[in-house]
Symmetry: C2
Subunit: 84 residues, 2 copies
């Protein structure tokens, strides 16, 4: 007996990154750099932040918008977080 | 027969505000003003934003931190959003 495939349509999960900072000044410097990056790339991910952290997510729509630039954007974002 | 109270401990839901803007420049100006407000009040709500919106939430812990200043903070935040 064959069983129906119950997996349904799988939606690729959004990509998420979490960055933690020692204090708000560092969080804000990261957000400022990311804002510059967003402006230069004309791409605006969803950003959730509090005093000492920032969660960045890029959903399917964002991926489509970024296309081949996605890897470069992600790398540049990580560079923004690594700078002091 | 008396029935047990099944309501349990109710946790006050977080307060949320959603602000929408015509474009990213307006969103960013709001976020910049809110950052100044946060700095002056030493209070940092959770902020979730994309290109044309910002969701601000203040949870129980944030309320405790704000205390009597909560209403004033919320009003100042709304003023930040209303400015052009």
């Amino acid at each position: 007996m064959s069983q129906a495939d119950t997996s349904g349509t799988k939606r690729e999960p959004a990509s998420n990154w979490r960055f933690e900072f020692s204090d708000y000044a560092h969080t804000r410097r990261f957000l400022d750099r990311l804002a510059e990056l967003s402006k230069s790339e004309d791409f605006y991910p969803n950003i959730n932040f509090g005093r000492t952290y920032a969660n960045i997510s890029i959903d399917d729509e964002g991926r489509l918008a970024l296309g081949q630039r996605e890897a470069a954007f992600v790398e540049a974002m990580q560079t923004c977080a690594a700078q002091d």
